[in-house]
Subunit: 457 residues, 2 copies
């Protein structure tokens, strides 16, 4: 006998949690589609040489390689041919480069699949997890107008997920790098300083100041003061965001470019009607140092800052330099849904949801089987999700089962109800029982379900 | 520069095909949920010792093993710890055994995920493919009434997928084995004879007759005649199916048990209102020789028999004997959607579908940007999927783009329309243009979309 268990580092859910997870996935997908993003799915395995174009990064050390039994037998031949994707960005780059002449640009795709990383197993770290990504990829150029559409999508997703107040934090790499230029920090040193500023939350201001004043950087006290003041800039509300941008003083051409772009994004967000409480500038966020080149986004839950960013991304100059000579600038974000779900559950923010089953059609005795089957099929034809009790059990046990399974309604038609042309319905959520004419049953239950879906939307 | 390409043996779709594929997945999922099946997703990787409980089968030779970079470095230590699932049945067995005390039985689950097999790469053979499975798993016992619900689900799925007339072929292992008993074919010889009958289509009757008369079997001519007559039984319509069952003559206890069960299934299918043209008995189908113990199902497209079975399954005695001492009988089916989609496309049965984007909001000049953004958000709030043209282009090019992308409607509001409070809408499918009052736009487009969805359902 083999002990049935999953490998460490994966999230596998029981059905009721899976229903909750699936509803989140559906909401995200529906919202992505609202904004015109197109679905893409890529294979879980890519050719190793395609996947591993750069090496040395932490993620690259966590790649899972795939070998068939045959390949395993003649091992010692270097890297296996196949490897599991560790994010959805590298597959997107490969996909766009491969199908460059078949796709319409700007290409707006969403992709919601699992990715794999050979993480050391520990609580809350996953070796397999969902990413929900959107990207808009241009050919040669991509208007910065797309940079403003992305936060509108983020806002719509998290409003509909209804997991609490959130803020989309905005920063801009040109603003950051232009500001550094103004302080005489150039080239590679900019990345080094960025890396230090990124540690402000973790290490605290004093430690970061000490590092910047130390041997590696040797920055003057005044430059450090100005860096710290810059990194502390946060806005509250739309007008304040524009005012804080204005108040930064003048700077290099790059700095002014960043300020103009970020200002335009803010104004476009207002035109899109995004609630101004949902976005703010935060000049400390750095994000993907060697990848992003324009706006960067992080999203935090106001009441749970310790969860960190729940949706991040930004603008990049060139998606697929390893696979294509074309310049493919883009902008995108990613939601790590497995990790988010895990943390929401830890924080008690994922409640039990109703089952995907709307109604259990009860069976009181064998003589009622045919009537129960007919009623079930009628309800299904009307669009309801129905489980039929196929073997008679005590009614109390059928109720108990429905209650435990999160099925809200139990429909019963005994001899008495059949004679009167009605169905008895128990609403387990409200603890009420009522009768409804047989031909009105589907409509009554559908209305109740729409109320639930309305509450979710 | 690395050539961007996928590994052989995977199906990756361009967005419009992906939309068509996604609609099929959604339809299948929706139908599974209609019948009260609950969602389950399992990790793509299982512990190798959990996955490989039996060895020697063809599928077991096609397992993909997974190794992290670290594990790869210290190779030569036997099988890797992890392997990719090759079907959804073994993970179901592990899942049910692992969560036996948390699940409610009978447990009705659906699972729609990809599985992996190290197939020799050739056209139409996939190394990664979707399976869409449902199973009902009982504890200790499971009423054969569930066996009749499964074909009702199959019928609902393929009616809604609308890919042509189909027939669910039914057979019963007890009927088969009971009939063999009556001919004096017992024990292992039953499996051997079944294997031969299963080749009737491929090898033809003469070749199979020769084998059954030959050294290994040594069956008498009369026994072979009766086997052939039995395997040729097909029904047309409900009454004929019952009559053909009756006409089989009497047999062993096992035979009578099979006949009674298959008859009950047929009668329950009628009570469920399943169109009698959709099911038939076919006593030649064998299916999963060492696994199924009761009813077996195969589904074929009437106009495309060469595609073979598009949905198969049956009743089994014990799901998880490797992982649990409990007896877990069940019944289930699987749709291999990747292969089906491939074959439908080859046969020209997957047409181009509309984009998931309902409407493109055109942009005539930069001055119109804010109005276009506002209109887009209003349409989204009403439930429409909207792409906004963010940079002005010639209107003809915007139309051309929408047409190529399968976006049915283009909404335009120039100065003239704005002054009159209307929006001009081009319906690219009908080649018509019309005007609608601004506040009626969403309702008009929603109605058109519902017409499309109605046509799909």
């Amino acid at each position: 006998m083999i002990k049935p268990r999953t490998p460490p580092g994966v999230m596998e859910l029981l059905p009721r949690d899976q229903v909750a997870f699936q509803r989140m996935l559906d909401t995200i997908r529906q919202t992505f589609e609202r904004f015109g993003f197109l679905p893409v799915e890529t294979p879980v395995m890519e050719l190793s040489e395609v996947l591993l174009t750069k090496s040395g990064g932490e993620t690259e050390r966590q790649v899972y390689f795939v070998q068939s039994t045959g390949a395993l037998e003649k091992s010692g031949e270097g890297l296996p041919e196949l490897a599991l994707r560790f994010d959805l960005t590298v597959p997107l780059a490969r996909y766009v480069a491969e199908h460059e002449h078949e796709l319409a640009f700007p290409f707006r795709r969403y992709q919601m699949q699992r990715v794999y990383r050979g993480e050391r197993a520990q609580r809350g770290r996953f070796r397999e997890f969902y990413q929900c990504d959107i990207d808009v990829v241009g050919k040669d150029v991509l208007s910065t107008r797309f940079d403003a559409e992305i936060p509108a999508v983020i806002a719509a997703v998290f409003e509909r997920l209804a997991i609490g107040e959130f803020t989309i934090q905005l920063n801009h790499r040109k603003l950051l790098r232009g500001y550094f230029e103004g302080l005489g920090i150039e080239g590679e040193a900019q990345f080094a300083v960025l890396r230090e500023l990124d540690k402000l939350d973790k290490r605290g201001e004093d430690a970061v100041r000490a590092t910047l004043a130390g041997d590696g950087f040797g920055l003057a006290g005044e430059a450090i003061d100005r860096l710290m003041a810059f990194a502390r800039v946060r806005s509250h509300g739309h007008d304040d965001a524009l005012a804080k941008l204005d108040a930064l003083g003048s700077g290099t051409a790059l700095f002014e470019e960043g300020r103009a772009e970020l200002g335009a994004i803010l104004r476009q967000l207002r035109a899109l009607g995004v609630d101004e409480a949902r976005y703010a500038i935060n000049l400390s966020i750095a994000r993907g140092l060697d990848y992003y080149t324009g706006v960067v986004y992080e999203t935090t839950l106001d009441a749970y800052p310790q969860i960190g960013s729940i949706c991040s991304g930004g603008r990049y100059d060139n998606l697929a330099s390893h696979y294509s000579k074309s310049k493919l600038p883009g902008v995108g974000i990613s939601i790590g849904l497995t990790r988010l779900f895990y943390q929401l559950r830890e924080a008690g923010l994922v409640g039990t949801v109703d089952s995907s089953v709307d109604v259990l059609v009860a069976l009181l005795d064998d003589a009622g089987l045919e009537a129960a089957l007919v009623m079930s099929q009628q309800l299904r034809a009307a669009g309801l999700n129905v489980e039929t009790q196929l073997e008679p059990r005590k009614l109390a046990r059928q109720m108990q089962y429905a209650d435990k399974a999160g099925i809200r309604f139990v429909a019963m038609r005994g001899e008495d109800e059949a004679a009167r042309g009605v169905v008895a319905v128990k609403d387990l959520r409200r603890g009420q029982q009522f009768e409804v004419a047989g031909h009105e049953l589907a409509a009554a239950l559908l209305q109740a379900r729409e109320l639930r879906e309305g509450a979710l939307a």
